[in-house]
Symmetry: C2
Subunit: 203 residues, 2 copies
């Protein structure tokens, strides 16, 4: 029974999160994490036996953030169009808070998909209920008939892509103007909602 929560572990986790998110598993250095945490390498290995174990801890934490329980919004009793809008608002708010998450997740899932999959399985994350809700809305002609998987991919892609490709967008469209870029990303909430609502309007 511990009264005083040791916070060295927290410092490590914070530092490791920063470094892994920015550099990825392959590019990250234990030395850099130790420096950022204000400790030395040996202590890192005392808390987490290896770089891989440390990475796994950070990774599963971040996947947990990146895949929130969207199902809860979808299972509310809002009309379908409002559900869609709420999902977009909620998810882009999340991305504005963690703008580096998309590039990190894309990088790591393409490097080594196994831990990613095992996490998804552990969380019992399933796309079936989402597809079912969309299909029902299509059957009732509330939204345009299409393969529901495409709609899911469209919505996530519209939300996520600008964050993943942020350096390119920054350089091509807003060179040297960080404020304009932030503004643009914030506008995505409204923009994606309009675009999707038009895109799913029944014929």
């Amino acid at each position: 029974m511990e009264i005083k929560k040791d916070n060295t572990e927290e410092k490590i986790i914070d530092a490791a999160t920063d470094v892994f998110v920015q550099k990825g598993m392959d590019g990250a250095r234990m030395q850099e994490i130790a420096d950022l945490a204000g400790i030395n390498k040996a202590l890192l290995h005392y808390y987490f036996r290896s770089k891989e174990k440390l990475f796994d801890a950070i990774f599963s934490k971040l996947v947990g953030i990146a895949f929130p329980r969207i199902g809860q919004i979808l299972q509310s009793d809002l009309p379908i169009l409002e559900k869609v809008e709420t999902v977009i608002d909620t998810y882009i708010d999340l991305l504005l808070k963690y703008p580096f998450l998309p590039a990190f997740i894309i990088k790591e899932m393409n490097r080594n998909a196994t831990p990613f999959f095992s996490f998804i399985e552990k969380k019992e994350f399933s796309i079936q209920p989402i597809l079912k809700i969309l299909q029902e809305a299509m059957d009732q002609d509330l939204i345009r008939k299409m393969r529901p998987e495409h709609l899911v991919v469209n919505v996530i892609g519209l939300c996520v892509f600008p964050f993943a490709a942020r350096p390119m967008i920054s350089h091509v469209a807003f060179p040297g103007d960080d404020k304009a870029l932030s503004q643009f990303l914030a506008e995505r909430k409204q923009e994606v909602k309009s675009f999707v609502l038009k895109g799913i309007q029944p014929e």
Copy 2:
């Protein structure tokens, strides 16, 4: 004046492309590239002085593929909606041919944006003509009025995202069924066109 084109360099480039695309700069190993090319490490350094120089060669080649001269399509005399459709068809065809390109480009531009930027500048790639054409179509009420940057991001995101997030889509929606996944990605051409055309329909 060389009559017989030496093909060791080609073998190196092919091998390096494979390895870099799959593992990224940080994860790639010179040994693995040498093995795949059927030579040894020393010869790699004979042709390209360093890993970084080899990577730069591969990277700029791949960026060249990933950013084709879309401007030519946009400057044709097709009606605007057909231009948009042609861009989507052309780009998704490209992605079907190089499905690993999106994850690679996203990874590397988030790791070290400098070479990416310098390439873009060298190619005099500019988004301005694209924005102008879209803006004119909006002024003429041929497409819905919106910030043209958002439209560009929407279209690219809809095309690119499913390829970048391919491992996730594969696992969540088509586990163990590579054929269904390929089919799904091929369907994107039609799907993105329908979705975008609806999304840009004037009010």
